[in-house]
Amino acid sequence: MINHQLFRILLFLALSLILLQLVSGVWLFSEKFGLTPSSLIAYFAGDEQKFISAKSVEGVLETAVPHFLAISTTIFVSAHFLLFTQIISEHKKYLLIASIFIAALVDIFSSFGILYGYHLFAYAKLIGFYTFELLMALLLFILFKAALHSPSSH
């Protein structure tokens, strides 16, 4: 039988590390791509006036492919704890988990759209990215609350 107090300590520290991972993701995104549609278009599709060359498909794949693994693992590890909490309803859990995965997919796939010249995808990428980060923050908030307060949060 696993001691609940130990499990709660582990969960709290793991969630803190995931929160730091989330913060580093936002920071890296803003440093690398910028947080506006025009900066995203310049990064992926290139900008002759700023002497920025367009990215290759290989370059985008190098970022996208590891993110399929990393993001899905992070969501899975975090969100599977949600199933054992009672803080939000089952329907809201369903919506939250589905929305996080969809937002992550929109974020990752939009890079290819920008690369092929469809500049509207810059907005989609930003919306996907912001939505993903906000929903992950919400998920972590719920789990922190469960780890700190609920006796049956494990």
Partner: protein
């Protein structure tokens, strides 16, 4: 990782085999990562400072913020995965509550502090190099210690 901690370690030989090889590979990750960090940042505090802040007399450029963030982002993900699964195995080992608690606190806590110390070293004082090295070593060594106990109990201790 609920599925990793939902069975007794010794009831299913295949599960024991799976966990043993997983623990072995994780052990190699913790050991290998120490060598990677030494290779990336340098083996001494002075060299770590030179790598991050640069050294004009040796013509060493400071580490760019983008490189630092990329390192932090990737290393943090790997650390979370390795530590979390290792601690999930640890929860099922035959150890006292206090022993397990200290392993979890030292491993996970020092990992968190090591990444924060790295940011502190980049943005503020050079003295942050000492907590960075200390906490980095600590979470790797505690991880190695936890996995060594896991491998010992999986291999030798029949209950």
């Amino acid at each position: 990782m609920k599925f990793l901690v939902s069975k007794n370690l010794h009831t299913n030989p295949n599960f024991t085999l799976l966990l043993s090889f997983y623990a072995l590979m994780m052990l190699l990750y913790f050991i290998g990562d120490i060598f990677y960090l030494i290779n990336f940042f340098g083996p001494t505090p002075c060299e770590v400072i030179s790598t991050i802040k640069g050294k004009a007399e040796d013509f060493i450029e400071p580490l760019s913020l983008l490189s630092l963030l990329e390192h932090l982002h990737i290393s943090l993900f790997l650390a979370i995965l390795a530590l979390f699964t290792t601690m999930a195995i640890l929860l099922r080992l035959s150890l006292s509550f206090t022993h397990k608690k200290w392993i979890i606190l030292l491993a996970m806590g020092s990992a968190l502090l090591s990444f924060m110390a790295l940011l502190g070293l980049y943005f503020s004082s050079k003295w942050m190099v000492y907590p960075f090295i200390l906490f980095s070593l600590m979470w790797h060594l505690v991880g190695i210690y936890a996995l060594s106990i896991a491998l010992y109990q999986l291999g030798f201790k029949k209950t």
